[in-house]
Symmetry: D2
Subunit: 135 residues, 4 copies
């Protein structure tokens, strides 16, 4: 199991007229969280794409428990609970500044060889790092 | 059961550097689809909010089957399969111009009395219309 | 001079907690307006990009006169007042349902040969059509 | 004159299929920059709105010099060159990691008394701080 924490601050443009973060904008928070998680493992998604491997999203699930509000600093706890293969599963728990759990998310992504346009295994150096967390 | 169809055209700003619609932007397509569905039943969400009832989203699920691409006209088939109560469940099926199913979504929304800040039943005229589809 | 009109309906996700369309979202309305304008002249931006010509934006100007509100149908009047060369200038006037002018925009775009990564002239069939409006 | 610097990292969802940050998304970067600038002066925009003063945007100008790319850390240098009155003018200069100037922006905002729905002067404690920079 690998757990990582990131913070995002709610932007004005991310709120809607209810005064809440628009429900579609959490996907971008999850993206920030998983990219920072990968970076914390020495895996830079931008360079991975340049070497021909991309990670499109296959599935997204969100539960909205409490609204996120403008200018709040949201803490995102990201968990990879299973050793990744062709697919990688991320779970996200979002907390507001009062440390209340406000949102739960999950995404499934697939590693894709951009030349063959087919699913592929993750880069070996990334797998090596990940294995360290699943002994 | 009530089924309704809407079309949205993919905007350039909705794509990302994979050349696909960004996974977070489908939520907005679902929003357009359900608002148009409600309108087709004579229920105007904007006026409903002005009368003090709002419908925040409790849950969102998306399956990404094939990418949606820039400038494609996407058809969204929206289904309400259960008579709504305090909660209303929408299902979405998205088709590209080749009539391929590219995305499946589901959302749970709750009717909220904005003054009491509590869940409430849907407006009665809306329920009356809905009942006609669930005999 | 060539003038064209398009409509967009304000989405919930485009509003912010002021209850107005977020100021950054007008750029996407302008995009929709100019793409539909080009389409009305038989020029399909998506296919143009596939043939290796893209049109990045060089400059954007917006004046916010009155707010656009959720669910309003906004009419965008798009004007090309000068025969395009390597650059093309669009002006936008946005009207709400009460036909009030609510927003004025302008963008400068450049035609770019994607292989050479250099500015280029617009496709000849497009220029031919445009010349008809500038006699 | 008051100058302040902020950083934003480009999110995947902010790019478009050109592989650049979509031209409409810079407005949100400017928003982040000016809010952080105000915060650096002890002025919290979120609380200001709660006390009944909001700052809608009247005008936006952007010049796109070089594209911002996915995952780049962009530095935004924000300048207030004139002592604010009812209106406040912000200028933005964006630099990529190679310290190249990639974008220039400007916005005009107005202080609005939300109860009277009329322009008003900025909060006095903010003006006091600002005056220190304009002697």
């Amino acid at each position: 199991m690998y757990i990582h924490s990131t913070k995002v601050r709610v932007r004005y443009g991310e709120t809607d007229q209810m005064g809440y973060v628009y429900y579609g904008n959490y996907a971008e928070y999850y993206e920030v969280a998983r990219v920072e998680m990968l970076r914390s493992l020495g895996m830079d998604y931008a360079s991975m794409e340049r070497t021909g491997v991309m990670m499109p999203v296959l599935e997204l699930n969100c539960k909205y428990i409490k609204p996120a509000l403008y200018d709040q600093e949201i803490t995102i706890k990201t968990t990879v609970a299973e050793l990744p293969g062709v697919r990688i599963y991320f779970k996200y728990e979002l907390f507001n500044e009062a440390e209340e759990l406000i949102n739960i998310g999950a995404t499934t992504l697939v590693f894709v060889d951009m030349v063959k346009n087919k699913p592929c295994l993750p880069p070996e150096d990334f797998m090596e790092k990940m294995r360290g967390f699943f002994d």
